[in-house]
Amino acid sequence: MQPVILPTDFTITEPQVAVMDSVEGEIQPQEVSSAATESGSSSIEVKVLFFARARDITGVGHMPLQVSAGSTACDCLDKVVAKFPSLAEIRECMVLAVNEEYAPGSIIVEQGDELALIPPISGG
């Protein structure tokens, strides 16, 4: 990655505008592992973000997701699709981003990571 040096000129008028406009109570973590609460280390929680068609399908902009430590982004997607089966129809179209960068499905997610489902983009 190239160094990006853009110190002061860069502004956002407002973060997160229009992203989660039609929100939406947070969904509870879909799975609570009793083992995880015992050891405290075998389960992690990531934040899953939905945009555009993915958000239309799920009806939510984001949700917490508990997965076992060592899970990949793809594993997370499997669980999300299990929860929202209609996502399967666009699954092959989507790409993933972890912590605001495009990532392969094989990437290992960590506690607190932000996993975004990116349907085909259409900016411009």
Binding site: V4, L6, A97, E100, G123
Partner: protein, 192 residues
């Protein structure tokens, strides 16, 4: 080289793109050229009447991507200042949704970099638009994304090295919701 001057803005809903502001931003005495691109909402798509486009973005990632694209442009061309703005929310017909302004000493750098930046934006920056017709609506898909999505996630950064990746598969990856007109394949009737 002097301090890089780059402005990236994702504009709030109902905030119009102030093109004069961005042109002023890139204007500099040492520059002999300013190239701009303005993307505007048009009134029809495949015969359907378009009422408006509605944009949303993964804002922090969109900002990061745009900054990266600008940095890549600087590494290729000799540029002075860059300004990129994208509006969110509903954008009515004729109004600007995206604007790029670049200044350089000579015009070739600004012109080429301007095209590069809008092309990269359409391929990689997480912004979405829903096209709203008088009788329906559809999430659009950029052909640039469909062609180059295989490159995503295989690099540390979205725009690193993917510029050279090519795919001629222009099919929409989500079925037939969006048709991409391709003029490259003309069928020639055999004449004997």
């Amino acid at each position: 080289m002097a301090e890089e001057k780059t402005l990236v803005e994702i504009l709030d809903e109902h905030t119009k793109v102030d093109v004069v502001k961005y042109i002023n931003y890139v204007t500099a005495p040492q520059c002999g050229a300013i190239a701009t691109f303005s993307g505007t909402t048009r009134d029809t798509f495949e015969g359907k009447t378009v009422v408006e486009l509605r944009y949303e973005a993964y804002v922090p990632m969109a900002i990061r991507c745009l900054k990266s694209i600008c940095a890549n442009a600087r590494s290729t061309w000799n540029l002075d200042a860059i300004a990129v703005a994208h509006r969110l929310g509903p954008v009515p017909v004729q109004e600007t949704s995206v604007f790029v302004a670049i200044s350089s000493v000579h015009r070739a750098d600004a012109l080429d970099a301007c095209k590069f930046i809008i092309d990269e934006l359409k391929a990689f920056v997480p912004i979405w638009k829903k096209e709203v017709y008088s009788n329906g609506e559809v999430w659009k898909e950029n052909s640039e994304f469909v062609e180059r999505r295989s490159a995503l996630g295989k690099h540390d950064q979205a725009t690193n090295g993917v510029a050279k990746s090519k795919s001629h598969d222009r099919k929409s990856c989500c079925g037939t919701k969006v048709k991409v007109v391709e003029g490259a394949h003309e069928v020639r009737n055999p004449e004997n």
